[in-house]
Amino acid sequence: MSSYRLFILFLLLAASTLTGCSATLKELSQIPEPYQLSAIGKADTGKPFAISSRGQAAVISDGGVKLIALDKEQEPVKVTPLPASALAFSPEGDRLAVAIPAEGARTDLRIFDTGGKTVAESSIPAQAAALAWTGGGRLAVLALELKRYSFGTLVNSVVFLWDGKNSPVSEMVGSVTLRPPLSKLPDEAILQNRNLAASPFGDEIAYTVLRDPPMFTPYQKVITRHLATGRTSEVADTSVNSQALLYFPDGDTLLIGNGQGMSRRVTIPDGKEIYAWPSAGAFPAISPGGSYLYLDGRLYQDGNRTAYFPEKTRGVFLPDGSALLLSWNGTLYRLSGLNEMKRAPRPTDPARFLELRRLRAQGLIEEKEYRDRRGRMLVK
């Protein structure tokens, strides 16, 4: 009998170890009224997920990509059983782009429709792809190439632009030979130094490239690139391992996390800081109107922290700002009860507004001339 009791005790111990802490997300969080938290599906821990404007979430579950209908009771749609490293819905929500690590330091790119059917696929000779949809239905991809040498590690940052029809067009945007001690890091640690975001107006991307100058601490440079003209601006510096780079809905400010306990909102193109949060910014999200900010488990509303979750909980806002989806410990949750008071600014004449931004990107008008007219061309 005693051996039977020992066996039961061992089983209990093993079960508690495998499931981790048995506490729920709700128990580990501070979720005041009027927020409500509810589990809506499965999502692999620590993996990215995305939400479409058509009410779908793309998650990585059981190692593969699945589509979950957020407002309907239906079985998740299996998209691909392959492990994805990045997911991104197109602004219209009709396309899901997926990056899948492939052999030979390559990455396969696939685009699926809302039913999970492959509509385009390609492959790029680089790894650790970050994805962002830009205007005109083009997918921007930032990926890295690593070459190990005895004297250091060469890291090339390459931006690919893919229209889903022709082969992706590539341009090397950064190249650095890392010196020890950075070059001694394993591939995974170096490869996480890539950040990519697309402007809400679709005409610009922001990305980071590694720099490792002699006599100075290595860092990442935050660069914006106007896609139509190719003009770039070096906006700010951030530390190595920073994994936070997002556009605010105004399209003229960026959220940059330094990975070391500080996230900043800075203006484009001069990198002037207008706000800072004491948070590394590992898993940032901004609500569509900009009322809410989710940073490393903290939910801020208009600058005030209103809810708290375990630090490694990933979050993404719904495109209408009504809820925040959270991924924690293998489960996808919906935090509803958000009150998005603001609306993302929209241009009254999109073509003319994009022209104004193009002129600024080329340095043909001053920043003040841009901002004066920008204010008149946007409605909130």
Binding site: A228, E355, L356, R358, L359, Q362, G363, L364, I365, E369, R373
Partner: protein, 424 residues
């Protein structure tokens, strides 16, 4: 009678003592050269040098091997010790201001010949003897550089550019045809415009006293400073006011040898007015081209053609502009500036109506039409390409004008606002 050897030596020694040493040395050359280079010997015998007993070795040296190798050419440094006044005047003039072509060593250019070094270097000198840069020279073949460029542009150090090599007959140097060798043709036809001017016609029909020639006005009283009285640089750009006024007084003084000073001054001032008007036309054309360059519309753009020898992949419209490896509109501007502007202005100062007007002014204005038309064509071609917004071109053009100083900061801001708010 048979002469003994000692008697022969004594006789030669006596002759040697009686003759100037140079002549003695010359005679040692003349024996052979009367046969090998008879013209040189004949000219020398008749020259002031020959008559004064200045022999061959005075200018050529006595190292026959060097002479045979072509290393004993006579240049200004040989003449200067005996002709200091002429040298000083020459060096103060535009003829003496480093007109050697070619600073910017040619040794790295393909197919260049070693003897080109002497264009810029004296024997044994590493430093070039001139600081003049010439992109057009650097684009030439070795042969064309020699025949086409340096026949004229070595005047800085070569007295024989105007004087003949062995004859010292001043009639040669005083003949306007001596000037014509270089001062003719499409880029600066001073000889032609003088010939068909009132001065030239009188010179031909009534002689030098009534009709002045080049030397009368540009080398008064035999000075070797051919630039006194000139109020602009060789590119036709007026000197600063102070320098201009001083030069003008010099020229009025020269003219006053025949004319009332007030008349001379008025005539020259009319030339000044023509020059200003022509410069304005030229500037308008240049602005058009700079604008096209700003807009990226030159065809080909400077970064899509062989590099300029001095400026690389840059647009060059100044004195170093090229007539090859350039765009069509720049080639039109080259003709306008180097030929037609020069004809207009120099035609006006040389009192030649046909050159000032038909060959100059009319061509200048027609050039501007051609250049503007070509600019329109290039802009329209660009507009036909998809995705080319007109406002971008206009803003880029404004920016270029502002950066070149052609537009004030206030006007730039005003013009930008007008474009940006158009249609609001």
């Amino acid at each position: 009678m048979k002469m003994t050897a000692p008697l022969m030596v004594t006789l030669l020694a006596a002759i040697g003592l009686a003759l100037p040493s140079g002549l003695l040395a010359a005679e040692s050359c003349v024996g052979c050269h009367a046969e090998k280079t008879p013209a040189a010997v004949a000219q020398w015998r008749q020259s002031a040098h020959g008559k004064a007993g200045i022999g061959c070795e005075s200018c050529h040296g006595s190292d026959h091997d060097r002479i045979l190798k072509g290393e004993a050419k006579v240049d200004l440094t040989r003449c200067a010790p005996c002709h200091p006044k002429a040298t000083k005047e020459h060096q103060a003039s535009r003829h003496g201001l480093g007109l050697h072509t070619g600073w910017g060593c040619t040794r790295n250019l393909p197919d260049r010949k070693k003897d080109e070094c002497r264009f810029c270097h004296r024997q044994g000198d590493e430093a070039p003897s001139t600081l003049v840069q010439c992109a057009r020279f650097l684009k030439q073949s070795s042969e064309m550089a020699h025949v086409g460029c340096n026949s004229c542009h070595m005047v800085e150090g070569s007295c024989d550019s105007c004087h003949s090599k062995h004859s010292t007959d001043l009639a040669i140097a005083r003949d306007p045809a001596s000037c014509a060798k270089c001062h003719m043709g499409p880029d600066h036809p001073q000889w032609e415009m003088w010939q068909t001017s009132e001065h030239g016609i009188l010179n031909k029909s009534a002689g030098r006293k009534l009709g002045p020639d080049c030397q009368s006005c540009h080398m008064p009283a035999g000075t070797h400073n051919v630039s006194s009285g000139i109020t602009m640089n060789s590119g036709g750009v007026p000197y600063p006011a102070g320098q201009r006024a001083k030069a003008r007084d010099e020229m009025v003084k020269i003219c006053s040898g025949c004319h009332a000073p007030s008349f001379a001054r008025r005539e020259l001032e009319q030339g000044d007015a023509v020059r200003s008007q022509s410069l304005a036309i030229l500037k308008e054309a240049e602005e058009t081209i700079l604008d096209l360059n700003t807009l990226g519309l030159l065809d080909p753009m400077p970064d899509h053609r062989p590099p300029h020898p001095l400026s690389g992949f840059q647009l060059v419209t100044d004195a170093q502009m090229l007539y090859e490896d350039t765009s069509h509109i720049e080639r039109l501007f080259f003709k306008m500036k180097k030929y037609d502007y020069a004809k207009t202005v120099k035609g006006a100062y040389h009192q030649n109506p046909a050159y000032a007007h038909w060959y100059g002014n009319a061509e200048l204005k027609m050039d501007l039409i051609d250049i503007k038309s070509e600019a329109r064509r290039l802009k329209e071609r660009k507009k036909a390409e998809p995705g080319q917004a007109g406002i971008e071109e206009e803003l880029r053009s404004l920016k270029g004008r502002f950066e070149r100083g052609a537009l004030s900061a206030g006007d730039y801001a005003k013009e930008k606002a007008r474009l940006l708010d158009r249609g609001n």
